[in-house]
Amino acid sequence: MPTQEIEYKLQLEENAAGRLVPTVVNGRVQTPYLGVGQYKPAGRKAAPPIRTAADYPENGDKRVPDLETALRCCGLRDGMVISNHHHLRDGDSVALMALQAAARLGVKDLMWFPSASFPSQVGAIELMENGTIHHVEGSMNGPLGDYCTQGKMRGMGVLRSHGGRWQAVQDGEVHIDVAVIAAPTADAFGNADGSHGKSACGSLGFALADSIYADHVVVVTDNLVPFPCVPWQIQGNNVDYVVQVESIGDPAKIVSGTTQITRSPDRLLIAEYVAKFMRAAGIMREGFSFQAGSGGIALAFVDYLKRMMKEAGIKARFVRGGSTKYLVELLQEGLTDYILDGQTFDLDAVKSIASDAHHIATSPFTSYNYHGKGNFASMVDAVVLGATEVDVNFNGNVVTHSDGRLLHGIGGWQNCLAAGCTILAVPSFRDRIPVIVDQVTTLTGPGELIDVVVTERGIAINPRRQDLTDAVKGSGLPIRPIHDIKTEVERICGGKPARPKPGDRPVAIVKWVDGTVLDTIWKVSNSTLANPAL
């Protein structure tokens, strides 16, 4: 479609990171990325419509028979925004239930606004094909990601961090018409909680913004308890309707069993280097804090750090996660005062958040929000993250394969870069594909916020962080210039990889935490699709 191409080309602009980004996306004018902390919009925050308690049942019973009824009562119509959340992860049934109910009502052209999508929601493709969904603004991976990167979606994908989603809701960039919240436990008034019930998942933090700012809020539960549902993370006072269903999801996929630490000797070595780096740099000290994800390297890192903390008699004030058994053990063994939990991954963590007063559910508001009066992320001493690529200027890519296909959502990754020391723990190559590159395929995190790259072949410290370089001098750790590691890996891999030519049509954008456009994801043709497993 040549006319469309010309239109897109006219609307591209280079942002402060030197990336070409569209200036209009899904009909909205965008601000290109201006630099870290540069964008400071004025005005007042968005707010839901004024409601009157007199319009709601005095006995507090907001139940309706089914989702279709709830959506009809919410006034769902063509072109609206409907939201869901990923606290049930790949076990979630509610999102598709809601979208299919909308389809049965004959509603078209919805914008689906999930906090993240999962492989089990591949059914969303069919709903895009039949016109129910117009486009998705949220993470897309696997088949849904391919659908987007092949340019089959009618609108453009918009990828936001967990904090960026809250920002977009608060500053009015995204107005949610109907939020449908899956609740492992709820009462008929709409109070809801995630730490109890057969589908218990831990924190419901991802749904909090939607419950406050959406025009209409529906709670869907498979464990209805008499009022009051205690504790409540979602306040019934924000909820319009409650729907009781047989099951909100597959418990086996909602929480994993105990996640095993990686057994790969190379990944264990990376984890060991990360822990030793934190000790050598003086980050591991009495009252410190850190955040680690739930990947194999991050879990192994926690295990090494724990041993070092014990040896040195050091205790953390708080740890953040992605909570798993390994963080819970820190809490139980008195090695941290608190877990500030953003997402609860395994059974041990769900049990802990339900029973231990020092294991606290947080939300992207407290942790990550750009429009908050500060947030927790910048108060964390060190964070350990993964990446698919990092370039010689320490810019990181976490959303696409090196061929430009969507791979991961941003999650809290961008928000975590605000930590005192941001460490990317990555293998130096995967399947012959070097991870350290000249320029990242998709810019997800600006290099000025990424301090250390730890690989099995050495540790590269961002030249901006001379303080860290000085701190680890004489530690015996393999500190190397990032170019040095890159050159070695390219020799091992038999030269630099070819760069697949990106398409010329934007199919999605990557937002920075402040809502500006950081980078563009381009259409990838079918023939260049490869399948490197990660």
């Binding site: 090196s402 012959r432 594909i433 099995e456 091992i492 260049t528």
Partner: protein
């Protein structure tokens, strides 16, 4: 495999290597010789967008250097590195009865200087010779040695393929400061291994299931011949492995069979099988054999090295075993998992008390030297010369291990 020039090999389709979703850093090659001229290559690769062209170019070069002119070649690549791609292609070509008498050698990296006869050999990491994914990061945890194994870890049908992989790895893989070792097969197969391996001069060759000194001599002679042919002027040390009752009985004769022997070790799995006893965690049943080996090695002036510890999950058991080994006189042991390396290095390190005592003795010795005294004494006690020798050795080892700074305690 090298084939005798007089026999014209029969051409046949052949395949080699591995592929599938669980395979990493390897590839599968199928080759079909054809009547008509031309090479056709079909490539499927998980890194196709990045290295597809590079793989095809390499494949064409390898086939050309092997003088293959008529064939269909199907490659399933799982992210293999160039040294493995070329080894697999060469193995497939030779299995198909083509390319006889030619070698395709990958670009050579700068190989560290030859290893010293008496270098530290606390740990040696076994790497299965037909599993290229383990090669590339083998040196990351700094074992004293890397053993590229052609013997027990390689299926009998894959010996030819593993031999080429190991040969290429010796040229192309950077093992850092590790001593580059190869365990060849038992004779006579081991002699064929030497033809490919020796031109790439590993630092040391391990001889499995050695029972008689003649076997060592045969290997040493063959190595000398090949070195001569290739103009190699660099030591290739030998380490016989005793794995039978007969081997243990002949320990001293084996240890002295060649001046190139620098160490001797024992394989306890095979040894206990030969005795008809069960191998236990404590190891009482092998006490004699291990003591015999230590004694024979010391008598021959070479390093006695212990077997491997089989339970990878039990690092504490490994530590105990290692400390006991050191107490018995061994200088190191084998590793079958990278996580065992650090534990073994700790177990074979002298203790702080030992170092402290040795330093005092060395200081007394230095003082005596300065004063030209013939007797070394510490306080009221006279120190015998062997005690001084042992202390000097312990201090120099502690320095080599990095436990002790160049002067004084760290």
């Amino acid at each position: 495999m090298m084939s005798t020039a007089s026999i014209r090999p029969r051409l046949q389709p052949a395949e080699v290597g591995n592929w599938g979703p669980d395979t990493r850093s390897d590839l599968h090659v199928r080759i079909e010789p054809r009547e008509r001229d031309g090479i056709e290559i079909a490539l499927e690769s998980r890194v196709e967008p990045y290295y597809g062209e590079s793989i095809l170019t390499e494949a064409r070069q390898v086939l050309e250097q092997l003088h293959v002119q008529r064939a269909y070649v199907a490659i399933h690549d799982e992210g293999a590195l160039p040294f493995a791609i070329s080894a697999r292609l060469e193995a497939a070509v030779k299995r198909a009865g083509l390319g006889s008498g030619y070698r395709v050698l990958p670009e050579k990296i700068v190989v560290p200087p030859a290893s010293a006869r008496d270098r530290m050999r606390r740990s040696r990491l076994y790497i299965p010779g037909n599993e290229p994914k383990y090669f590339i990061n083998a040196g990351l945890r700094n074992p004293d040695g890397i053993i590229l194994d052609l013997e027990d870890s390689v299926h009998p049908h894959e010996k030819d393929a593993a031999r080429l992989l190991v040969r290429n790895a010796l040229r192309a893989v950077d093992f850092g400061t590790c001593e580059r070792m190869v365990r060849i097969n038992q004779l006579p197969l081991g002699l064929a291994d030497l033809e490919e391996i020796v031109p790439e001069f590993p630092d040391l060759v391990l001889l499995p299931k050695t029972e008689r000194p003649e076997q060592v001599m045969q290997v040493a002679d063959r190595i000398e011949q090949i070195k001569g042919r290739h103009g190699i002027d660099r030591s290739i040390w030998l380490m016989p492995i005793l794995e039978s009752a007969l081997g243990i009985e002949n320990a001293y004769a084996i240890a002295t069979a060649s001046p190139d022997i620098v160490a001797m070790t024992i394989g306890l799995e095979d040894y206990t099988a030969d005795l008809g006893v069960v191998k236990t965690a404590k190891g009482d049943e092998t006490l004699f054999a291990r003591q015999r080996l230590v004694n024979a090695a010391r008598a021959a002036g070479i390093q006695p090295i212990d077997s491997v510890y089989g339970d990878v999950a039990d690092l504490e058991g490994l530590r105990q075993w290692g400390m006991n080994s050191r107490a018995m006189g061994f200088e190191g042991m084998g590793c079958i998992h990278p996580l065992q390396i650090a534990v073994i290095h700790e177990a074979f390190a002298p203790t702080a008390t030992e170092i402290e005592k040795a330093l005092k003795i060395v200081a007394a010795f230095d003082e005596a030297q300065q004063k030209s005294l013939s007797v070394v004494s510490l306080g009221s006690k006279m120190i015998d010369p062997p005690v001084v020798q042992r202390a000097l050795k312990l201090v120099s080892r502690a320095r080599a291990m990095g436990i002790l700074q160049q002067s004084g305690m760290s």
